[in-house]
């Protein structure tokens, strides 16, 4: 809680020291600044460090966690309230090791467990860029955490369990493209923050990297990137993955929920080579083998009734866009037949799409997306359960049936 005041004190001391002054005066190379801006996009800094209608990078965005609300910090070069007095060493220390200039521990909502892989050169470029953005005088808002999580020293325990410091090391047995993809996905992209199961301590387990999980507080399920049954990308072409990441729509499916934010703020700005490298790496994560058959706990009589009820709703409300046999009209109306996002073990996402609808993000590659209507008012819990069960099991899909109770619970999910 005392970070602001200690930070301020440290800042004042640093401002008086000649070493810092010379570091600040040294104008960075425009090419380095441009590279830093690009890398800041890849790291999606803006998504968390800019509040709604707030000044860019001035922080103040509330981040709800199971432990309370964190407020993101001001990373503009304002010397009093931002990071204007930080040196590039101190910036790297934060990115690489999750520590403030005074040695204080950073809450792991800041993805330093991923950013630790970022090279010193790239960290310096981001630092150089952040020094050029307009400084904003805006004090950081104190975090609002519940006991005992308001005790920063608990982070030490978290770090022991979940944090492995270390810069990215290329794998010499793989292609340069694969290594670039690995670096972006595991480092700046911090994909694992959502796509790896989060345990009760808010940590993600290396042993389960990219196996997917429910995103706390948001009630969206971040699918596994390793299992073909989920969003394992083994069956996708590189082109389809590239479209999905950059445009937000592809022949196989569209982005929605929290992933729409990532494409909107970050991935659409990456160049072709980098997105392609990420696609190559992501495709390589997928574990081969045909997806296993689903097993269901619903008695067959009940599930066949549910299915015929679901089909009648589908034919009435869904088929005009998604097609009588779930083929869709890709990329704008995604196919449902064979769509992994519908068949995942967790039915949270398909239920939410039916209830809330949604738009893929507006991107330079798809500036005027087609939207899916919300059906929360039109369909009862039973109808939602029936139609989601139908799309999860029709046309060779292998998902499990869902219950009206599951549908009902998600009506209260946070939307925004």
């Amino acid at each position: 809680m005392s970070r602001t005041s200690t930070g301020l004190l440290v800042g004042l001391l640093l401002a008086l020291s000649p070493a810092t002054a010379s570091a600040q005066q040294k104008a960075a190379d425009p090419a380095v600044i441009a590279k830093g801006e690009y890398l800041a996009r890849a790291g999606d800094c803006i998504a968390c460090h800019t509040a709604r209608e707030g000044k860019t990078f001035a922080g103040g965005l509330p981040m709800k966690t199971p432990f309370g609300t964190l407020y993101t910090s001001n990373i503009t070069p304002d010397p009093q309230t931002g990071i204007g007095t930080w040196t590039s060493d101190q910036f790297y220390q934060m990115m690489h090791n999750g520590r403030f200039p005074d040695g204080g521990l950073v809450y792991p909502a800041m993805p330093f467990a991923s950013y630790t892989q970022v090279t010193r050169e790239d960290s310096d470029a981001i630092y150089a860029y952040l020094r050029t953005v307009p400084p904003v005088k805006q004090l950081n808002k104190p975090h609002d955490l519940t006991f005992p999580f308001n005790n920063r020293s608990l982070i030490l325990g978290w770090r022991t369990l979940f944090f492995r410091e270390g810069e990215f090391k290329p794998d010499p047995t793989k292609s340069a493209e694969w290594n670039r993809g690995n670096y972006l996905v595991e480092g700046l992209g911090h994909c694992g923050m959502c796509h790896t199961p989060i345990n009760a301590l808010g940590g993600s387990k290396q042993s389960q990297a990219f196996e997917g999980g429910l995103i706390p507080m948001q009630n969206w399920y971040a699918p596994s990137l390793t299992s073909n049954k989920e969003t394992g990308l083994g069956d996708w072409t590189i082109e389809e993955i590239v479209d999905y990441l950059r445009k937000g729509v592809s022949a196989k499916g569209a982005v929605y929920g929290p992933m729409a934010e990532v494409v909107y703020n970050s991935l659409q700005y990456l160049n072709d080579d980098d997105v392609r490298a990420m696609a190559v790496y992501l495709k390589g994560l997928a574990q081969g083998g045909a997806p296993e058959k689903a097993s269901t706990s619903l008695p067959s009589a009940e599930s066949s009734l549910l299915l015929s009820f679901g089909k009648s709703i589908y034919d009435r409300d869904c088929a005009s866009c998604h097609g009588a046999t779930g083929q869709g009209m890709p990329p704008d109306y995604p196919p449902l037949a064979g769509n992994q996002s519908i068949q995942m073990v967790s039915a949270v996402n398909p239920i939410r799409m039916v209830l809330n609808g949604g738009y893929p993000p507006g991107t330079s590659g798809n500036p005027m997306p087609h939207g899916m209507p919300p059906f929360a008012q039109k369909l009862s819990d039973d109808e939602v359960a029936a139609v989601v069960t139908y799309i999860r099991t029709a046309w060779g899909n292998r998902g499990e049936p869902v219950s009206a109770r599951q549908a009902n619970e998600l009506r209260a999910a946070t939307l925004n």
Binding site: E53, Y264, S300, S304, C321, Q327, M329, Y359, L415
Partner: protein, 235 residues
Amino acid sequence: MDRFLPLTALLALVALPIDAARSQTTERAPDTMAARVLACAPCHGAEGEGTSDAYFPRLAGKPAGYLYNQLIAFRDGRRKYPPMNYLLEFQTDDYLKKIAEYFASLRPAFPQPVPPVDSKEVLARGEEIVKNGDAQHGIPPCSACHGPALGGMEPGIPGLLGLRAAYISGQLGGWRYGTRTALAPDCMQIVASLLTEDDVKAVAAYLSSRPAPADPSFAPRGSLPMPLECGSEPH
């Protein structure tokens, strides 16, 4: 295992037409605004004409500048309604402008006004505020900015006819309680805070009882001398 047989059988049945369907999947979604904004239809009607739900407003024929301001306000959270905030969160200014212009251009028929359920006195009080305001309490008449015919003024001031009482009172309440805000100076926030609960009810009752014009038109930009400065209606 055999308890899954009916399911398997059904899957086998529906699986048959897939090959036929796949061979013709080059069909694309219609490249039209109507197809793009189908997501709005369940609440606002396919042509923005509104639905039977009184809380969801008609969009068609409102000034594009007004609709655009609302879309931006929903996207950025300045106007709070989670289903709208969610749908618009990741759309660009350009696209929201196109959506606004699209709905502004539509002219579906207005619904018949609902016969008023309120007393003559309530309607008369509403008419008084709408046409003459309430000088004693500093309340300007609605018609000062929304036009003598209440059709609105370009670019940012909406018409007030063809809306239901529940929606109108909901919006006036939203301004009073801060869930609906506009660019500063937020003139409607000022006006709404001057109204009593009874005033809100009376204005909503009167406006919703008026027949909408067959051919709605906006007053031209700057043609009405507005008594208040409004951030959403640049001078």
